[in-house]
């Protein structure tokens, strides 16, 4: 019989609502709250070894202690699978479910499954983790979908515990993690590509083997009248930073931005700047940093009057863009936008490599 640990928040453990959100990690032998529902769905194929609960606020305010206590409890119970949630549209709960799954999968090597609404912020974190041991099933927004969610979690948990082959997200119905799976087929790539192309040309439905990230549309910001009277700033993903890389950017997957002062500078002297980036050959940029931060041209245009005096922002913003996950880059964009707006910048020259 399959052994499962079920992690829930204080509410779904039946301990209380918002007033109990500060509850520390606790363990109940067997099933309690939502775990009872899960156990019913498991039938005689599995049982809940214990129900682990944590308050929604406690988890996020004491993450290290909470994760440690949960790892201890799960490690002691030695389950075949960990189930967390379903969290529906509850943000704190969704995030903690995903973080707990990630910690358990990494530290204990146990497969984990959670479930939540696709708009739950936990889904963004789940996609960021790209952890092959974690699956997240979509649910309804509200708890009305509880019975169905528990049934699907139970079925999935049984399959995971048995070590069954889990197919693609599209086939199995979990939320895609962006993991490229290797599958065997006797039809070579060229044949499949031509077939797909013919379907596309004939407006027939087809399924990409490598779906691209879906990008939301941002309506264009209004144009600037008389750009020479506007405050302009440079933002770049080229990774051009002062020589020595003082803020220790990595060549890939960076998670923060910096701005560097150029107020007193007429140009960027080679040897005083370097490009930190693992996605392109940085030799040209190191020889001439203006390929990424075109300060010489900006000063020329300033002298000619195309950029008003004092209108160029006194620093440029940078993050090496290589392998930046869309979620992180969105956050970086929001943070830089807030910083620019605070200083009344009105337009951005963005150099992307």
């Amino acid at each position: 019989m399959i052994k499962i640990v079920h992690v829930v928040n204080q509410f779904f453990a039946g301990l209380g609502g918002e007033e109990k959100a500060g509850l520390a990690v606790g363990v109940i032998e067997g099933s309690a709250g939502a775990a009872r529902g899960l156990e019913q769905k498991l039938g005689d194929e599995g049982k809940i070894a214990c129900t682990v609960y944590v308050g929604d606020n406690y988890f996020h305010e004491h993450k290290e202690e909470a994760l440690k206590a949960i790892l201890d409890a799960v490690g002691a119970a030695e389950p075949n699978v960990l189930v967390a949630g379903p969290a529906f549209n509850s943000g704190r709960y969704g995030l903690s479910c995903v973080e707990i799954c990630n910690a358990v999968a990494n530290a204990l090597g146990i497969p984990c499954i959670t479930a939540m609404h696709e708009e739950n912020p936990g889904v963004g974190t789940y996609r960021e983790f790209v952890n092959a041991r974690i699956y997240c099933l979509p649910t309804t927004e509200a708890t009305t979908g509880m019975s169905d969610a528990l049934a699907r979690l139970a079925r999935f948990a049984i399959r995971l515990a048995r070590g069954e082959e889990i197919g693609s997200a599209a086939k199995e119905g979990y939320i895609g993690r962006g993991i490229r799976r290797i599958e065997k087929t006797d039809r070579r790539g060229a044949t499949r590509a031509v077939e797909m192309l013919l379907k596309k040309i004939n407006n027939q439905p087809f399924e990409s083997e490598l779906p691209m990230e879906v990008w939301d549309d941002a309506p264009p910001a209004p144009a600037l009248a008389r750009v020479k009277d506007r405050n302009i700033a440079v933002v770049t993903t080229s990774g051009v930073v002062p020589w020595g890389n003082p803020d220790k950017f990595k060549t890939y997957r960076n998670t923060y931005w910096r701005k560097y002062n150029i107020a007193e500078l007429k140009e960027l002297e080679p040897g005083k700047w370097e490009a930190v980036h693992g996605g392109y050959n940085v030799a040209y940029m190191n020889q001439n940093p203006h390929y990424g931060v075109p300060l010489d041209a900006l000063r020329t245009l300033e002298a000619e009057g195309a950029i008003g005096p004092g209108k160029l922002y006194p620093a440029y913003y940078v993050i090496p863009g290589n392998q930046g996950s869309p979620t992180v880059m969105r956050r970086i964009g929001q943070e830089i936008a807030a910083d620019l707006k605070k200083d009344n910048v009105e337009g951005v020259l963005f150099v992307a490599t």
Binding site: M212, W215, D216, D217, A218, P219, P220, A221, P222, A223, L224, A225, R226, V227, K228, R230, I232, V235, T237, S238, Y280, N281, V282, A283, Y284, M285, Q287, N288, H290, Y291, G292, P294, D296, A297, L298, T300, L301, A306, I307, I319, G321, M329, R330, I332, G333, Q334, I336, A337, A338, L340, K341, V345, E346, G347, V348, L349, F350, V351, A352, T353
Partner: protein, 83 residues
């Protein structure tokens, strides 16, 4: 990133050699850069011509900021770009 800046109401001139990708991800004001490792200029040119090309690219970017657009629009600097 550039789209978050636009959402905050800041027009962005995106200088990139990967302008088809920029179009695909629906950046709005796209300025053709020279190549991926050196978007703002061309090391194959003389120092003077390289600096002039860079000035043209930035001037095109400033014009892009002055232009109303309805969706992804590519602005090309008015010079021939080398290799």
């Amino acid at each position: 990133m550039s789209k978050e800046l636009e959402k905050a109401g800041l027009p962005v001139a995106l200088i990139s050699a990967m302008f088809p990708v920029a179009q695909q991800v629906r950046a709005n004001r796209i300025v053709k850069g020279v190549s991926i490792p050196h978007p703002c200029g061309d090391p194959n040119l003389s120092k003077e011509l390289d600096a002039r090309l860079r000035r043209e690219i930035i001037q095109t970017a400033l014009k892009a900021l002055e232009s109303e657009v309805k969706g992804p629009t590519v602005f090309s600097p008015p010079v021939a770009m080398g290799g």
